[in-house]
Symmetry: C2
DNA sequence: TCCGTTTGTGTAATCGTGTACACAATCATG
DNA sequence: CATGATTGTGTACACGATTACACAAACGGA
């Protein structure tokens, strides 16, 4: 109970070998007699010995830690991907360290802290940190950086997301349904990914001689979707709202119904983005521009593995989004 | 670009001092000349030097890592608490390592892996690992273990949750509304916390000469709530369903409405548990037995700090739940 | 002026592994 | 049987920081 963790040298004494042999017993491809190994492993089990990963990391120059830079854990718009990625990392004996940007005032300091732990990889989901900052902070330890935002840098691999075709499909349908006046409800004021998403829809509208008439900015939460939709619908007569993510879309839908008595899809069309599981729930049944989460995380893991294998140069993968049809548009 | 991280000895040479002095420059309460410190810090900034946390941890016997054992990241029933805790840990310069149990086949092996990283603390949110296993795996490194489940062990502090009064209030109201036949939809087949929650409601029913008539088991997800509610309502004539968490309650509500045309609260009463933000959304408006997340995480952080201060003995904190009234019961 | 205290710095050991190197023992081969 | 390859193990150092100890310089009080 509460005893100090046993060290390799102590175990060596117990097993009547040198500490080097202990180490070899735990390294799969070492020159060691199988009898010795079995004996050591059994003594180790008996005393609860496990090699100290901190010491091993120091020696190896390989921590097996991965930093995940995210906006928040709670928000479903990222959570499903986080869950998937964590699962895949764990299966590879990599441990994720979560860096939560949303309510941390000094995100750079947070990233610097993580970088002192010599993480092997960094995955940036968050659009609250600039990619350049991430590179500046982590480049000294040479991790891979996986991110949405393309950046010309030999250490940064990225995953491009293309939703233009799906946005076009969605706009096509809404326009065919007779809607003409579109609003865009952004998730953030200045993020790169948000601007990109907005452009997909703006382009699809422009193709049909239409434009985004009204605009609002939330923060990816239900409450902000609700509040901004109310303001939006009071100050302009739009009949379609494209939202920066699904959660805000649900908020906007509720606001339209509750505060203005407008129902989807007849009075107003509402579109989300992300394609989270909740969007498909019976009570929501959202039309949304959706990204295949599994494919996305496959891509991230793929990049990580390429980097682990020391393949040179940054890599880039492009994924395309699909429309998911619900009853809100 | 891509250059190796500079080491304390190298920086020492650049600054014309010994590596010990470098270390002192980065330790707030060291005997060091302020001129020397300033010079070192400036040279350090110039070369991007930061002390290596892995090496420091090895020396210190203190990693500043905290293992969070959770079921899943995505599921909102835990996500809000996780988010809060991560935020609080980061503010204390502690880094969270997430261990996700839900879809990992060998949870014990996962915990053993984390324990080799010499984490300072362990917080067990998950009800998928037995507390005894957690203690066995982590006791050698003497971390605090914070958990729901009380366990007689000098290393385990826990947080007791008492929802009996709130459950009583909720049952009172439902019974007053004329409902008589109750079902309980569990989140898991065998978890400690689930049995406790069930008991709160069972006791409140027993007090009024009633009992749980029908029972089903899901897995804390919307889909399982939906599916199990359908089966439940087909095989028994209950007019109230108490659910193991809010997400399943939303699923059950949707199932009742969509598959059987039964609406809340007139045809059927539905109650959730957790009090997640989504439960209060306009489209859900769930009646739920809710726990104050902030108070809960305050308690966790409190326990962690007591342990950091090396206060002896395990600690125990009890929190009580409240009823949150919505339109589903 | 002299001695005790404080201040600032360097030296060397330590934390717990992994591994290059050395060396003895065993084995294969002619 | 001689020789070279292979196998198994120990010794010693490296990884990059922290820190106990030693010591010189500066300082203060009598």
């Amino acid at each position: 109970m509460n005893k100090r963790r046993i060290t390799s040298k102590e175990l060596a004494k117990l097993a009547g070998v040198s500490s080097a042999t202990i180490s070899r017993a735990f390294s799969p491809d070492s020159r060691i007699g199988s009898a010795t190994r079995d004996r050591i492993l059994s003594v180790a089990r008996e005393h609860g010995y496990q090699p100290n990963a901190i010491a091993r990391s120091l020696n190896n120059q390989r921590s097996r830690l991965v930093a995940l830079v995210v906006n928040a854990i709670g928000n479903p718009c990222e959570a499903e991907e986080q869950q998937l990625l964590v699962h895949r990392l764990q299966a590879r004996q990599l441990l994720p360290i979560i860096l939560c940007c949303a309510d941390h005032d000094d995100r750079l300091q947070l990233m610097r802290l993580a970088s002192t732990y010599q993480v092997d990889h960094v995955v940036v989901f968050s659009d609250m940190v600039s990619m350049q900052d991430a590179v500046d902070i982590f480049h000294t330890t040479k991790p891979i950086i996986v991110s949405f935002e393309p950046l010309e840098n030999e250490n940064v691999s990225n995953i491009r997301i293309d939703g233009s075709a799906a946005a076009d499909e969605i706009i096509e349908k809404i326009v065919n349904d007779g809607k003409k006046r579109f609003a865009y409800l952004s998730g953030t004021k200045s993020s790169w990914i948000d601007k990109l998403r907005r452009k997909w829809f703006a382009d699809a509208l422009a193709k049909r001689g239409l434009a985004i008439e009204a605009e609002a900015f939330g923060d990816y939460t239900y409450d902000s979707g609700f509040k901004e939709a109310v303001l939006l619908l009071h100050r302009s007569k739009v009949d379609a709202i494209i939202c920066g993510n699904d959660v805000m879309a649900i908020g906007a839908r509720d606001a339209a119904r509750r505060m203005l008595g407008k129902n989807t899809p007849d009075d107003i069309a509402i579109v989300g983005q992300d394609g989270i599981a909740m969007a498909a729930w019976d009570c929501n049944d959202l039309t949304t521009l959706s990204l295949d989460h599994v494919a996305f995380i496959d891509a991230v893991v793929d990049l990580i593995e390429r980097h682990d294998a020391d393949l040179p140069g940054p890599h880039s993968i492009t994924l395309t989004c699909n429309a998911r049809w619900g009853s809100t548009a």
